[in-house]
Assembly symmetry: C2
Homo-oligomer: 339 residues x 2
DNA sequence: CTGAAAGCGCTAACAT
DNA sequence: ATGTTAGCGCTTTCAG
């Protein structure tokens, strides 16, 4: 049977006390385990609590203690492929500390964000996690909040703040080095919009690795959308340019998959003639692409976890300002295998 | 500047009162707007509150009122493509009511689920939303909770409970009718695992529509994984069977995309020779497939919204038991266009 | 129109 | 070992 229309009144410590024949404070001691209570009395109280299905009112406890064991999370950009894993990692880490999480969706609107920060403060959260999708710095949320704040993924531009993000620059360098190590020298670069930070970082990393060896890209960078369709177009463009290429570095798995498809349709052998790399390690793309795609996992779950841990630390008075970068993982698959 | 190590003490109504030279209760009246306060006094109080950056302590207010304007959400299965849109819809609807949401991830573990329900009750949430990914009934969460519960997507097996889910059976019928309306008669059916409720419902709907016209599937149903790879395999299986087919009904967009790819590689013209349909309207799949895929949108966002609305209603004493099914939308695209 | 006082449910000194 | 009391910050009678 489900709950009936009129909910039963919530049972309080005083109900338990009455039933066990003791005072309220004895109930509190018995249940919290923090006072000296005779064994037999404790048993009686536990039984009464059980029979009444008593759940202590944490509001009252928090009002007294000043702690709610709750943190606020504001998704500052839209929810998406990047932010959901971060959120999940944070949830997991917080659950281990028995901390609950109040979630708001800021939708990339800073007015709304402010509004939600106020709502969180009124709810007396012990800390705030700002989770943003953009792999770029964002404005600090406000001067002097009464609780610690940690930024996840999109880090704060103020280095007094604490942020945790993914070291995607290193990931992109790993990709480039992997290509060099497997003998490729003539790289093309295909990414999303030119103005996106992700495009910029990945290009810069790729070029810096090549520069160490004294050469550059074999074809000028191609910019478009973060889509498979653009990947297909770009690959065709490369093919028609007749520039000699032995690897295509893509800004995302989606783009890479489009590139793979177009190459396949033009009977270019991957990885023999051309290697292809992605970025994200997005299971759906990576498993379905032919051949399976070498890519970089941004460890987003871990970014979420570590951001949450950092916040908990700060809540315990051990704040660590600065931007922490979580390592990415190169995932080599067949699309770059040695010929 | 960010928050410094030692956070400033939180400012309370009594600070505001002191600064405005009035009593605490006058502050309360002025700020809540619920008491009679002289205009000039109110101004003074508002100004003081502003200067001190006062945020009222909702814990205290809730302790008094018995309302927290907070609901708990438990994702009972893993987060996934299905549950995230539901969650987003719920967040959106709750935000409109100025209700916050405490989120837990039950991970399909009912012990954990119970644990989180208790945690929510201790936090005095006004209601609980159980969001499950499985398109099938689930056990009612517990006898007689002190707050209303609404189930989203995975509905409760107890019809005293309130649930909101997607009418995917109707969606699957729409697909079948659409194929008949565009002249197809020889349908194949490719889905995920045989034991999954989604497979079962979609097959049953398809067959019932065909039965109305007095015929059945042209090929026995094919079951596999919810993956593109399986879609490709299944399509090859169909081609090798040499059974005459003019449409492939797929249990998901991913499968459909695999089917499309395999057909394309075998130079079967879609939609001229064979029509293909998916299920989900998952942008990434649908946009990248060639030709664009006819599919069904399960209105998951709307399921989340309506579940949240239903919960708010129940919290206001107007519970409506039963399972409510949100309409799906047929999205016709080129993969079923008339020849 | 304003303030003093009681109380929401809990915890922790302090007293017994 | 147990009970009494004060108080967390707010809202709301009830007096003035």
């Amino acid at each position: 049977m489900a709950h009936s229309g009129s909910s039963p009144r919530r049972v309080t410590a005083s109900d338990v006390a009455a039933r066990a024949g003791v005072s309220i404070s004895t109930v509190s001691k018995a249940l919290s385990g923090r006072g000296a209570v005779r064994h037999e009395t404790r048993q009686r109280i536990l039984q009464a609590a059980n029979e009444l299905n008593y759940q202590s009112n944490q509001l009252a406890a928090s009002l007294y203690s000043g702690r709610t064991d709750t943190v606020g999370v504001i998704m500052s950009d839209r929810f998406g492929r990047l932010t959901v894993p971060v959120l999940l990692g944070a949830i997991e880490a917080l659950a281990e500390h028995e901390i609950a999480l109040v979630l708001f969706d800021g939708r990339g609107d800073s007015i709304r964000e402010q509004h939600y920060i106020d709502a969180l403060l009124r709810r007396q959260v012990d800390g705030i996690l700002m989770a943003g999708a953009g792999l770029k710095p964002r404005e600090s949320v406000r001067d002097s909040l009464p609780v610690p704040v940690v930024y996840a993924l999109a880090w704060s531009d103020d280095d007094e703040d604490s942020s945790v993000t993914s070291d995607d620059a290193a990931g992109a360098r790993d990709i480039a080095r992997h290509l060099l190590a497997t003998g490729r020298r003539k790289l093309a670069f295909v990414s999303g919009p030119r103005q996106d930070a992700a495009s910029h970082v990945r290009l810069a990393s790729t070029e810096s690795v090549l520069a160490e060896q004294g050469f550059g890209l074999a074809h000028e960078p191609l910019y478009g959308e973060w889509s498979e369709r653009w990947g297909r177009q770009a690959a065709n463009q490369l093919l028609h340019s007749h520039v000699d290429i032995d690897a295509v570095v893509c800004g995302s798995d989606q783009i890479a998959r489009g590139v793979l498809e177009a190459l396949r349709e033009n009977e270019v052998d991957v990885p023999k003639q051309v290697a292809v790399t992605g970025f994200d390690n997005w299971d759906v793309m990576v498993e379905a692409s032919r051949p399976p795609l070498t890519t970089v996992d941004m460890s987003l779950h871990e970014v979420g976890r570590q951001a949450a841990e950092k916040l908990v630390q700060a809540m315990n008075g051990r704040a660590e300002p600065g931007v922490q970068r979580v390592d990415c993982q190169l995932i080599p698959r067949e699309s770059t295998a040695l010929a």
